[in-house]
């Protein structure tokens, strides 16, 4: 019934598929691929759908299409990594079913083939799929939500059903899961989607003693102290602004946004070793600029007074600050 549509589905990938091992005749290859997809669909749909999804199922093409997009994506990626551009589709499937992909690191976070079937089944309002989704992802989502704000964790009922609706599109199709094609497993994909979903929502009402501000304010500083702090901050800001843009981004990610070196390195697109060297050089440059800033300052006298007032045993302000920058990162790394 759906054979022609299924064969059509492979047409877009014909060019690279024909280069793969064990694929000689196109018609035969399409039949084999379709057979394999059907086998997986039977296997995965069994615990997720009221009836096993087979060829006569009205939504069969939707499921098969999504499965193929997932398998095809990883297969093409694997072929790209292979020296001769060839790899057996079964080998790719075995690997991704074990939760391993072909990007560096290769951790998919689960079996994406199973997850695309779950995604389609949820959109089809399959009851078992909804139960399975809840079993697999409720605790994970709750935990992650708590990292954004503890109130989300304490009051999951406030947002969970809405989130499932947002994903599955029960009340407002299409759901977000329509966009999920299994480039990674659902767990990895869901983290980002949930985070942004919650970010756009108001916080649940606070519960007993929950309304304390996250960062209690410190006692008011006296005027002289505040003036001195303002002077220090201005000097630092002026020196910091003179750093190259890339250095500023790296230092901000590390010291203001609290990322670890490895994480900041990934954001700026370099390996940790390179990021480490850049950081070292940036701190050196910053120290030099700050020293110049202090030396050129017309506020030399106030600066010396402040140094005496705040530091008691004044030593080179620039060196002291850069030492602290070095030390504070080491502490973060340990944590």
């Amino acid at each position: 019934m759906h054979t022609a549509r299924i064969a059509e589905m492979f047409e877009n990938d014909k060019q690279w598929l024909l280069r793969q091992p064990e694929i000689n005749s196109w018609e035969r290859a399409c039949a084999c691929l379709a057979e394999q997809l059907e086998r997986w669909l039977r296997e995965y749909s069994k615990p997720l759908c009221e009836q096993v999804v087979a060829e006569k199922h009205p939504e069969y093409p939707s499921y098969v299409n999504r499965l193929w997009r997932c398998w095809g994506y990883h297969w093409l990626q694997a072929a790209g990594k292979s020296p001769d551009g060839k790899i057996r589709g079964q080998e790719v499937a075995e690997r991704i079913r074990a939760g391993k992909g072909y990007s560096r690191g290769g951790r998919l976070g689960g079996d994406p083939l199973r997850d695309v079937v779950l995604a389609v089944a949820l959109g089809m309002k399959e009851n078992e799929a909804a139960i399975c989704f809840q079993t697999d992802y409720y605790d994970f989502s709750r935990h992650l939500a708590g990292k954004q704000n503890h109130r989300f964790m304490h009051d999951v009922d406030d947002w969970w059903n809405e989130f499932v609706d947002f994903l599955a599109g029960y009340t407002q199709p299409p759901g977000k899961l329509e966009r999920f094609i299994g480039k990674c497993a659902l767990r990895n994909w869901l983290g980002t989607v949930l985070w942004n979903f919650l970010r756009r929502r108001p916080l649940p009402e606070g519960i007993n003693g929950d309304d304390l501000p996250d960062n209690p304010t410190s006692p008011a500083d006296d005027v002289a102290r505040q003036e001195c702090l303002a002077l220090f901050t201005r000097l630092v800001a002026e020196a910091f602004d003179k750093l190259p843009k890339d250095d500023r981004l790296l230092l901000r990610l590390l010291y203001v946004d609290g990322l670890q070196l490895k994480q900041a390195a990934a954001v700026i697109g370099v390996v940790p070793g390179q990021a480490s060297r850049r950081r070292g050089r940036a701190i050196q440059r910053f120290q030099q600029l700050l020293s110049e800033q202090v030396a050129d300052s017309e506020r030399e006298e106030s600066y010396q007074d402040c140094l005496q007032y705040l530091m008691e045993d004044p030593r080179d302000f620039a060196v002291a600050l850069c030492d602290i920058l070095e030390d504070s990162l080491a502490e973060e790394d340990v944590q």
């Binding site: 220090f232 697109g269 705040l310």
Partner: protein, 379 residues
């Protein structure tokens, strides 16, 4: 040294100064789930990556949100390809292993330094290592080595610490299965024209994709070869496939062993690889050579025991395993292999103390349960 509140004061001044940015008008990259997921999968091209970085540099809102997502684990880190100049890397390695050996020898030399910041940094590196933070130690020592005007003594000391921190970091990564990270660590030393045999040894393990606990420098027990606790063998079928990469690594290891005949780690790894390839005679030769280098090396005795066990020379295998337990009573592998071997030759009663000891030494709850079941069956 500043007191903590002064440190905090300075750090806060820095944070306030560095935070002082206005958020530009949208659209914001963090609001786009699809783009973020594509970025984390490494799918966006260089131009878009550069645009993203530019936006992040100017947008405190996106930086803050992105950092929060990364810290919470809501967004996976994108892959970053280390730029490894393969040919140069290889030539360098050949050239520099000799110097690496020399550098390693220098670690113990008494170090005197001029009174500058370098001494302080080296002390901090040692502190990081002492605190079990090799990543921070390596970052710090690398920054120091970037200095062009280091005196010879300081440079040698720093290189020694680079080796130590790199080795510890790579070992940690190997244990957690982060093989690419191990390669990155080794690459970081190679980039500087340095190479260290024990780090190369870990790299070779990582290239084979074998976690540390499956390699002899860390471990080696019959369970890895498909032998059950009761001494029966079964086809485990979970060994690495011996493809072109394995052959290349084997060749590389053979050359490395020839070039550095006194490196025990390299030799044990080579022997382990041969053992996995069922080349018992060659493996035995390597383990015996390792024992000539260090007759008290428990791992080499374990390795020799494994070879003998495979050849069904169970009595000889038992001697090797028992020797290993005597040399290193805290070696789980030695205790476990001895117990399995005793079971195999029907001396179950004698195996009991070894099972008990293995049980004490392992933190693996599954293993503990299996040993407990076996012991209760015996009793």
């Amino acid at each position: 040294m500043n007191s903590p509140d002064k440190d905090e004061l300075l750090l806060n001044a820095f944070k306030s100064a560095a935070t002082g940015q206005e958020t530009p008008d949208g659209p914001h990259v963090v609001d786009d789930d699809e783009q973020l997921i594509s970025w984390s999968l490494g799918e966006i091209d260089a131009r878009r990556q550069s645009e993203l970085r530019d936006h992040l540099a100017d947008c405190p809102y996106c930086r803050k949100e992105l950092a929060a997502m990364i810290r919470a684990g809501a967004l996976k880190l994108p892959p970053v390809e280390a730029v490894v100049p393969v040919r140069r890397f290889w030539h360098r390695r050949n050239l520099i292993w000799a110097t690496a050996a020399a550098a390693t020898l220098m670690i113990g030399i008494v170090w005197t330094m001029s009174d500058n910041g370098s001494q302080r940094i080296l002390a901090m590196v040692e502190k990081d290592l002492g605190a079990g933070n090799p990543a921070a130690a390596m970052d710090r020592v690398e920054t120091l080595l970037d200095e062009e005007e280091l005196d010879a003594n300081t440079r040698q000391k720093a290189q020694g610490l680079l080796e130590e921190s790199g080795y510890r970091l790579a070992r940690k990564n190997l244990r957690s299965g982060d093989f690419q990270e191990v390669l990155d660590v080794e690459h970081r030393t190679a980039e500087r024209g340095l190479s260290f045999s024990r780090l190369s040894s870990l790299r070779l393990q990582a290239e084979r994709g074998i976690p540390a606990e499956h390699a002899l420098t860390q471990s080696g027990n019959l369970l890895d070869y498909g032998y059950e606790l009761s001494g029966q063998s079964y086809n485990k079928g979970a060994f690495p496939t011996f493809d072109e990469t394995t052959q290349r690594i084997r060749k590389e290891l053979a050359e490395a062993v020839k070039k550095y005949p006194d490196s025990l780690d390299l030799r044990l790894n080579y022997a382990q690889l041969l053992l996995e390839e069922n080349e018992y005679k060659a493996a035995e030769e390597q383990f015996n050579t390792a024992l000539r280098l260090d007759e008290k090396n428990a791992l080499a005795h374990v390795g020799l025991g494994l070879v003998r066990y495979h050849r069904e020379q169970h009595d000889d295998a038992l001697k090797s395993f028992v020797e290993a337990t005597a040399l290193d009573p805290t070696s789980f592998d030695a205790q476990l292999n001895t117990a399995i071997c005793l079971e195999r030759i029907g001396r179950s009663d004698e195996a009991i103390p070894y099972w008990r000891k293995a049980n004490e030494l392992t933190g693996d709850t599954k293993m503990k349960r299996r040993i407990k079941e076996l012991l209760s069956a015996v009793n």
